[in-house]
């Protein structure tokens, strides 16, 4: 005679199991998100990778779009002379500079640093050096970031450690 194993599953127990599964699911997702943060996609690194920034139509002339390049905050500008892209981490103390269309500058709000939107050069304020430029390419109606224009320069900026 075979022994029977009887498992009694009450509604209360079933509820606890279901909630436990949701909690496990949530915990697993949290771990996955942390792992993704610690080990970002390898395609985002490297000098020859193409990172799609935006569709051309998304950034009309005189506007800008923020994006991440090699793990650093960056900004794409659509100037009358064409697209420009720079790392937007200020070379002074590492604040994030942004496009200020009314003054036609890239502006760092922390210490009022101003940068030329065409070249990234310092116009005024305490930043010691220009914003690092990013090589871009426009193809098939979209703008792609290729690499830092001067990787050696990027390596010399402490706030861009590991970005080039």
């Amino acid at each position: 005679m075979a022994d029977k194993i009887i498992i009694t599953l009450t509604r209360r127990k079933l509820t606890e199991i279901l909630i436990g599964l949701v909690a496990l699911f949530f915990a697993g997702g949290t771990v996955a998100a942390v792992l993704k943060y610690l080990w970002p996609q390898s395609g985002a690194k490297g000098e020859s990778s193409e990172v799609k920034i935006a569709l051309v139509d998304e950034v009309p002339t005189g506007t800008a779009k923020k994006f991440m390049f090699n793990g650093k905050a960056s900004v794409l500008l659509h100037m009358p002379a064409g697209f420009r892209a720079f790392g937007s981490v200020c070379t002074h103390l590492g604040c994030i500079a942004y496009w200020k269309p009314d003054e036609n500058i890239v502006f760092c709000p922390c210490h009022l640093g101003k940068f030329d939107p065409n070249t990234g050069a310092v116009i005024s304020g305490p930043p010691p050096s220009p914003l690092p430029a990013i090589d871009i390419i426009v193809k098939e109606g979209a703008v792609y970031a290729l690499k830092w224009k001067d990787p050696d320069y990027v390596k010399s900026i402490s706030f861009y450690a590991g970005a080039a």
Partner: protein, 91 residues
């Protein structure tokens, strides 16, 4: 010397209890869906999208919904499935 042992009483019975149980199942599925949405949104989004205010607001809303659903499940679990009194036995 005696050991005080606290156990849950028997499950509630009746229509309200059954409705609460069905609602708990449905809400648990909703919680799983919300959790999946949050995780998928965080993992699959491009960095340029994930750093926007809109993205953070969307994830915040989903988490608020999830918290609300979990609170509802807890309420239904306590009020719908547990007896009002705990059974205390002394051994």
């Amino acid at each position: 010397m005696h050991i005080e042992k606290i156990e849950y009483g028997p499950e509630k019975e009746g229509l309200w209890s059954q409705v609460a149980f069905i609602l708990i199942i449905l809400l648990t599925l909703a919680a799983a869906g919300l959790t999946g949405s949050i995780i998928w949104k965080i993992i699959s989004s491009e960095p340029s999208v994930a750093s926007t205010r809109q993205f953070i607001e969307d994830v915040g809303k989903l988490m608020a919904y999830l918290l609300f659903v979990l609170a509802a499940i807890l309420y239904l679990y306590v009020k719908g499935l547990l007896q009002d009194e705990y059974v205390t036995t002394l051994e």
